[in-house]
Symmetry: D2
Subunit: 419 residues, 4 copies
């Protein structure tokens, strides 16, 4: 890559949504407002107090199914896929505008089949899957009939260095035999989760970038033990969950290998760009919602005879929050646009810039909103604590902030070298 | 108060623990290390997976009882009371050194009968309780046989302005009849919690500081409904819990009134100083523990071939953390010393300074430690997420940061006026 | 204004430079690189050690004149004016791209006649000047033959509230008689400065927004005493200077009144939008230059056997700096675009957002670069200290940060109200 | 050193000034208030506009001499020396209280002969000087008849790594011949500056810590050229100045060597502890003064009809400033106490902690005060800009912040290892 190009490519700042996608954005907005928002509280209430925590209740699944059907009927499905055959054929830029909206409601992404890690898994299957892999797993995923997981992180490693991944797959005849542990495998607690892409080391002696592969493992599967849920801030997040999984001689056929042995990091490049930026898009929506909540609360509640918003630093905090949200929004749009203009590989500096910037800032913004809400802000009477936890985890998931700063910092230093 | 005195009183900087208390501090250290630390994980494991979440298991209570007996046997009990008759007669300064240690282990405070809100309640009962009130409630509390709650915060108010408290108590013959709601009543979920001090408005027409009273309400009690637990960051914190309570014509005799009608804020002054500073003392201990965990993890884990601590900003973060901990420690010690030298009332600027400074900083420190731990840092495999939540709540409880900054800021401005 | 419109107007995110202006941008880049950069050090060296500090040396003026002639010859002159008759007819958005470049070299703005406060003064004269006012003052300014000043700030006022301005002009026959003091009148120390626009109070009894007027005062002028230079961080910034000026019965004819008595704030609205955003554009350029210097220095200097950039937090600082620069750039572009799309009045929330964000962040960035340079960073061997001072002053000039946060915060709160 | 000892040594928190020194502190306070404050403005006014900038005017020297005589007469002289024979015999802790006061007035340190770098030079001469060296240089310095400089920093080096120092001294018979460059040699511009301690490399082949020596060079001296002043933020700071000095075969006798060849870093350890902590002590005083100015200004100036201090975040800023000042004060006192209790070597972690914390924080505090002052804050009408520059330079001088964080961070990590 020309070390300057990520900064200076023509068209990088054309950040307006395309005219063609604007009606779709409006449709999504009205769908979320009219269909999803009114039932969100009900959906979560249905899940409370049940004995069997690790599945949705039939009522929840019915409600969710209804929402999905309505979305499909309105043509709001699988936006995230840039390929017009399988998805809406949206550019990354146009998708960003829609994802900002999805970030404001925790149910919305799944209703539109745009939730992680399914989006990344579908994108991978679409791009590198064999016809059989696509038939068996991509189609039901595109249809929303099953869900999926992505197993990368391991408990005994510093998560900043993916090259250490040690879970092994050894060739045995036509099979691969997998042994090792993974943790924080999001979604693997849900019985609807039927397929998992697993990052494994297939050859410890190969070059650093060729040691690993990605392989499909169906769920449930012999030799694949779900040890239990990893908590995040003390919550097990049932029934979605972030699972600790142990592989003991788990055996899958070679036809489950994705793209080819040793090409794990190649696939990672493919998925991580979109996956990370999709998270950041939704994070901007979450920050926007936190600001809305902050203003609403601060206008209604009074102390010392005045609305909270007019006390002390609060008006300035609202201003700083708005400015930071717009700054985040523009950097995310620019990263999405860079993927459209430069391709995922050359856009990776921008994706890392967004990933390093957005969740950290979103945490600060949500934290301010919590503080202005007082005790209610940390409680179940406000969505803010859940939103905080989700953003806080993002500062670690898909590469911790520090690794993304390293990517951006090194690109800048390389740029300096070649001037 | 002479507006200068809080800054310039003689002896404010004598911050060394007294020679007499040093052996006690060492005894506490060894008790926590030898007795409490080894069983802490067991204690929590005993509580997992039980059906009845809102009480401790018999095994937990037995373990806890054993620890308390050992503490009593070693003379480690009720330090927090400055009165030598009921407690150890420790100065606030000396207690601070012990409380730093207690902040490092979540079980330790209760083992030594030094846990909130019991400490504040006991201090209030000791100072203003009638002989009957002391016999009925202070004695079993001092003995560790029951626990207690303190009901102040209300769901419909901005927590920054306590004068809005609306839960009413109306005189009816020899009784008071209470109506209203309280929330975040910590500890009221535990069946061992048998007494609650409730802040009520007894006369809405009185002067601003005379409208409220504090009154004793036993638990359980007719007309007192525990609506349910308030979550903090999605956790119900069973069996301790932070309860939402509704009072409907709850009736208690006038002999349950503390100190006298209309003297509620007078009692608040009494309790809040020690209560707040005790929290801050334990927060310093928690920050110290976070630093220990950060160093331990950062020395053991490697990325890119080097220990995490030698990567990027991490050594500097360790340094900043140590410096901030010492700064917090000294400000807390100074506030404790101010209480000893100036009395709780004149020391309130220092207490507010510590309360405004310490939990905010402790959150940042624990957050750094989480980031360095990666995914493990947010999980149940590390105590850091629990520690974060506890400190985050403290930035709101007992007066949000903003109110304490207002106290300090106004004192400074007044000081300016009188120069 | 519809309180939502500043956020949602169509086209706000079309932030690419127009195809038509791209060659101009390239031409400016090459002009600055080929003509201005090579003589910048010489220009400043020519000014050192002279006895008469309050004028440029003939050699300096000759060098500057040559640069201006070359700029005119290349068609690079008066970009800032949106009116195609007098200027280049650039949109604010297109101008922003050029101004980013001008911010990297301290001489460049004047070489292209795009320096403050001349740009604002010319814009005012062009829009509201009478034919005579335009002939006498706009034409020589457009030509670069004279320079100008803008006198608003007064020494005895809080600069955050312009409505307090007290310098008075009283009608006396066909004249106005001015009395009062102004300070920090930038450029008024330069003998080439021949005209000054002065904000005066003409009617203390009028409505709050109608009390003030703006009036032209030539320099030098009877009754106008230049008391001396105000220092910024200890420097008098000769020969440009920021002057303290006293008006004692200074008399100008009524034909010098701009737009009409009582319309001073109307004119302010006109000038302040562009003036502020032009500053912010150049600030982004300055931040970009600071990053370049930081990388250059950090690659060349070594400590403990490694280049500075690979030590400690420095790579991450480079990354954070790049991300912040891009965030600033996009917010500034969006404000410029808002002026093009919504008009200056409706765009004012965006202008305030940029003004509140950019100089504060630019100060931090330059400060980081200073720290990485060590002692050289604060010295005359690096431009960084000058750059810091210029940005630091901007956090106060044209409305302090706090006032701009108030504008943005209130717009957000109003937006909340009307949802 | 036992890696724990710097944290846990007994007595470290005994931070009250000794009873014996309290009257001295009061005497210094009244001396500064009664004698120095009233003439400070006059002193600086006397120095303005003079042609010969690189010396004080006779009137200035007379005024200064009078102040020094009064100080000597009141027994306020040379406090900084812990040795009771030459100085007051103050502990570092007691001296800290006095230095806090000296930090509030820019003239005060010299009036009491407690200004840098003389204090460090005197301390070195007292501890390691030969009788002849002490007679020739220490005595006139102790007497305040001459001033001195310390030449360490070199223009071509990263200032963070002192082991690179390259200015060479080569033995030639009974002489040393010095060649090289130094810059930012504070005070060397003053004709009263008659002696300079120079850090030189005497043996590039020795072990890393044995390559350098410190040697006395009188001023003026053949072969020692004062090239010119280094500016700080654009100011030459005449007549004190921070000089760029070139040594060309400058020859001094071997009797000028301090302590012995190759012992340069040994002497550095001796001087840098006290030198650094003295700076930090005065920084706390400067921060205190900034808060006083902030409160004074914010009470007097109004905007929007209210005093500035009651607008927006300002009351909270005052609170945060007070809390930060107290935190800095306590950390500085603790470092001073550590020097008394543990000795300079073992106290170095504390000294680095203070040096890494205090000037950075002091810059932020002064910057806040500037912002609240508006344009006046950056001008000569307020001391704040000068104060900012002084503190900003301190973040680089005597080891940049980053190096001190490295010292503290590594000590913590070592502590972790040995647990």
């Amino acid at each position: 890559m020309n070390p300057q190009s990520y900064l200076s490519a023509a068209g990088l700042n054309d950040l307006e949504i395309s005219a063609g996608s604007r009606p779709l954005l409006e449709e999504v907005r009205s769908y979320v407002a009219d269909e999803v928002e009114p039932v969100t509280a009900t959906y979560y209430a249905l899940g409370e107090g049940r004995e069997e925590r690790w599945s949705h209740t039939p009522e929840q699944l019915e409600l969710l199914g209804g929402l999905k059907d309505k979305a499909k009927a309105r043509g709001l499905w699988n936006f995230f896929l840039p390929d017009a055959r399988t998805g809406q054929g949206l550019s990354n830029l146009d998708y960003a505008y829609i994802a900002f909206e999805l970030g404001k409601n925790p149910l919305a992404p799944e209703c539109l089949n745009c939730n992680a890690p399914d989006t990344g898994n579908m994108e991978v299957l679409e791009r590198v899957g064999t016809p059989e892999q696509r038939r068996d797993w991509l189609e039901p995923l595109l249809d929303g009939r099953i869900r999926s997981a992505f197993a990368m992180t391991e408990p005994d490693l510093a998560s900043s260095d993916a090259h250490n991944i040690a879970c092994s797959a050894v060739r045995d005849g036509d099979d691969w035999v997998i042994n090792g542990e993974k943790y924080f495998i999001s979604g693997a607690g849900d019985p609807r989760c039927r397929i998992m892409i697993v990052m494994v080391r297939t050859n410890a002696d190969a070059a650093r970038n060729k040691q690993h592969s990605q392989i499909l493992v169906p769920l449930p599967h012999p030799g694949v033990e779900i040890v239990g849920p990893m908590h995040v801030f003390g919550r097990d997040e049932a029934p979605h969950g972030h699972m600790h999984i142990r592989f003991t001689d788990a055996r899958v056929p070679d036809t489950n290998m994705l793209l080819g042995e040793g090409r794990g990091f190649e696939i990672s490049q493919l998925r991580l760009g979109p996956g990370r930026i999709h998270h950041c898009m939704r994070s901007v929506g979450a920050a926007e919602r936190a600001l809305d909540l902050m203003i609403e609360r601060g206008r209604q509640r009074t102390a010392f005879g005045r609305p909270l918003l007019s006390l002390g630093k609060n008006t300035e905090l609202v201003s700083r929050t708005r400015i930071e949200i717009e700054a985040m929004r523009m950097v995310v749009l620019k990263a999405a646009r860079a993927m459209d203009v430069l391709g995922n590989d050359q856009a990776r500096v921008w994706v890392s810039a967004a990933k390093a910037m957005v969740p950290e800032r979103a945490c600060e913004i949500i934290d301010r909103a919590i503080q202005l809400h007082g005790a209610t802000g940390v409680s179940q009477w406000s969505p803010l604590a859940d939103m905080y936890v989700a953003q806080r985890v993002l500062r670690i998931a898909d590469g911790p902030d520090e690794v993304h700063h390293m990517v951006v910092g090194r690109a800048e230093i390389a740029r300096g070298r070649d001037r």
